[in-house]
């Protein structure tokens, strides 16, 4: 019987299509506006799936955002800025409300889903005064929906019953990778200079 082999060009095609899909799916767009670096991710939607299900059930859903900037080289972290947002959905108005948990709090109301997502990203803009216009920059945006109380403590109520510690539940908790328990998104871009961003804006 003759063995069928996989042609190398199939592997390359699969890799390239995967890469193209990844590039299409995840895109962090940078722009500068009056000395601030602004972020947009038109193809990333975090008000979907489980978080949206919770929102449509009148619950509020906290999201943690983190911006990481590298300058000069990819190993030099310029800054890491986390921020926490709480999103809720008005059942009657069918609009979103977002609160940034900083002091003082900032809240935007009566937003569509896309506008709510854009507002969160807009609130993550960074001051880039003092950064050389020719210095290469890399940026990463991480978004994580925080779990409600479902995360479960190892020795929580559900795991200890009248018949003892339920080891099955404990195994489930410890074998679950932390990253997959919560909906999360990570997108990156770079290297890009402030000069290129300014030129790009003028062209656009």
């Amino acid at each position: 019987m003759r063995m069928r082999t996989i042609k190398p060009w199939w592997v390359i095609a699969a890799f390239l299509s995967g890469l193209a899909f990844a590039m299409w799916a995840e895109e962090l767009v940078l722009s500068t506006q009056e000395g601030r670096l602004e972020f947009a991710a038109p193809r990333v939607h975090f008000l979907v799936g489980k978080p949206l299900e919770r929102l449509r059930n009148a619950s509020e859903v906290p999201f943690v955002f983190k911006i990481t900037l590298w300058s000069g080289t990819r190993t030099h972290v310029l800054r890491e800025v986390p921020a926490r947002f709480v999103v809720s959905y008005d059942l009657w108005e069918e609009k979103f409300s977002v609160t940034k948990l900083v002091t003082p709090r900032r809240t935007a109301r009566h937003l569509t889903d896309n506008a709510a997502e854009a507002w969160c990203l807009q609130e993550m803009s960074q001051d880039v005064t003092g950064i050389s216009a020719n210095e290469p920059l890399w940026a990463r945006l991480e978004i994580r929906a925080e779990d409600s109380k479902e995360s479960g403590l190892p020795f929580g109520r559900g795991n200890i019953t009248d018949s003892g510690i339920n080891l099955t539940s404990l195994i489930e908790i410890f074998s679950r990778p932390a990253a997959t328990t919560q909906p999360h998104w990570t997108i990156e871009t770079g290297p890009v200079t402030l000069d290129e961003l300014r030129r790009g804006r003028r062209r656009g």
Binding site: N57, A58, S59, E60, V86, S88, Y89, D90, L91, W92, K95, S97, T99, L101, P104, R105, R106, T107, A108, R109, H110, L111, T112, A115, A118, W119, Q122, K149, F155, R157, I160, T161, D162, S163, G164, I165, N166, L167, T168, I171
Partner: protein
């Protein structure tokens, strides 16, 4: 000065005025609720699903009090937790939908049904006792279409006058035609170890090296809190005589159980009563070597309210005839007369027992008092008492107990779970 003040206002106001606005109004410096639905009014609160009819009146009236108030997610989630606790439901989910009136919502608590786990692993008991050492018990269960097959291992030096270690296996059918009838078959095989004090007191024919038990039982739910179990227990044990000899202790077993619970651990408190009476009769009819009748009654009342937990227990038992050592009553372990050593009280166990205990837990801090007596002859009956303190949380317990007596008092320390 005035110029500086105006410049300050300008510097602050300018970025705010120039900042791009989202397509909704922006509020600054807010400390109010982050959930926009708090403006909505709860039209009604409903409970649906299995067991919803069993909800206590105080909790039901508390639920209805939410109608007409603003939607408060944390409060309603706490209420869902209380429903879950009171009904011992595996899950209670809150669903919120638009009401009939504008800006009103209907809240529905849906009680989930228990999902049968195909495979389950339980550490049923774990204990360290400063006089008796380690004890542990664990089992694995496989559930296939309401049939549960379990296999476990045990090493227990606490409950009986012997340390028994070995394997346990079981089959359980939870519904036999009706929800009111269950069938169970248990098998166990143990190796025994004996304390020096027991070996000194016992007759050569009392001590056995191995023990094998097979016990088929049926359980019938007579009336919801009242359950009766009956069956037989076939035990074979190999004596430690120079000429190895095997004896059988075959008994008819019957147990009547009562378990009632009401209220919830919230405001009004939860009350729980468990009581049982069991009889085991070894008879020649089943070709048993020892002939005996063992009666045992147990009761426990528990009251829980917020951080307080009060538990009062009672145990009494009597054996007539000559029962093997594993049937005899033992006091002075991690559950009874805590602080006393069972080998000091009666190294062989006894044919009569009376015991009472009071446990009080406040925010995990435990104090307890035990009293009881074990005896074979009335003239040997002597009431013993013990006191102890420790901590108890979620099935875990760590305590030190002191026997109440004159002379040298050596405390007993124990730690573990579910004993």
């Amino acid at each position: 000065m005035r110029t500086l003040f105006l410049t300050g206002i300008f510097v602050i106001a300018l970025p705010i005025c120039c900042a791009p606005f989202p397509d909704g109004p922006l509020d600054n410096d807010e400390a109010g609720p982050t959930n926009v639905n708090t403006r909505l009014i709860v039209e009604s609160v409903q409970v649906s699903g299995q067991g919803s009819a069993k909800l206590s009146d105080p909790l039901r009236s508390e639920l209805s009090e939410f109608a007409g108030k603003n939607f408060d997610q944390p409060l309603l989630e706490r209420l869902a937790d209380r429903i879950k606790q009171e009904l011992h439901a595996p899950d209670v989910r809150m669903h919120v939908v638009k009401g009939d009136m504008p800006d009103h919502v209907i809240v529905n608590f849906e009680i989930g049904v228990e999902r049968e786990k195909r495979f389950d692993l339980d550490l049923a008991r774990f204990l360290y006792h400063s006089k008796q050492g380690w004890s542990g018990q664990g089992h694995a269960t496989v559930n296939i279409h309401e049939n549960a097959f379990s296999f476990g291992m045990i090493s227990d030096g606490d409950r009986l006058s012997e340390r028994y270690a070995g394997i346990q296996a079981g089959f359980e059918r939870r519904h036999v035609g009706t929800d009111r009838l269950q069938l169970r078959f248990d098998f166990a095989s143990y190796h025994e170890q004996w304390n020096e004090a027991t070996l000194l007191e016992a007759a050569p024919g009392d001590i056995y090296r191995t023990r094998t038990q097979f016990s088929p039982t049926a359980t019938i739910v007579i009336l919801e809190p009242l359950v009766v179990s009956f069956g037989v227990d076939f035990a074979r044990y190999r004596l430690s005589l120079p000429v190895a000899n095997t004896e059988s202790s075959n008994a008819v077993v019957s147990t009547l159980r009562y378990h009632q619970r009401w209220g919830s651990a919230g405001d009004e408190g939860e009350q729980d009563i468990r009581a049982s009476y069991s009889v085991r009769a070894g008879t020649h009819f089943l070709e048993s070597d020892p002939v005996f009748a063992r009666h045992e009654t147990e009761a426990r009342y528990r009251f829980r309210r917020r951080h307080q937990d009060l538990s009062i227990g009672f145990l009494a038992g009597k054996i007539s005839g000559l029962a093997p050592l594993f049937e005899r009553f033992v006091l002075g372990n991690a559950e009874t007369l805590r602080g006393w050593n069972k080998f000091d009280l009666d190294p062989l166990g006894a044919s009569r027992v009376v015991h009472g205990s009071i446990d009080y837990v406040y925010r995990g801090f435990l104090v307890f008092y035990d009293t009881g007596a074990v005896w074979d002859r009335p003239e040997h009956r002597e009431q013993k008492q013990s006191l102890g303190l420790g901590c108890k949380k979620s099935g875990f317990q760590l305590a030190v107990a002191f026997p109440v007596r004159t002379g040298v008092v050596s405390p007993v320390f124990y730690a573990g779970m579910n004993f």
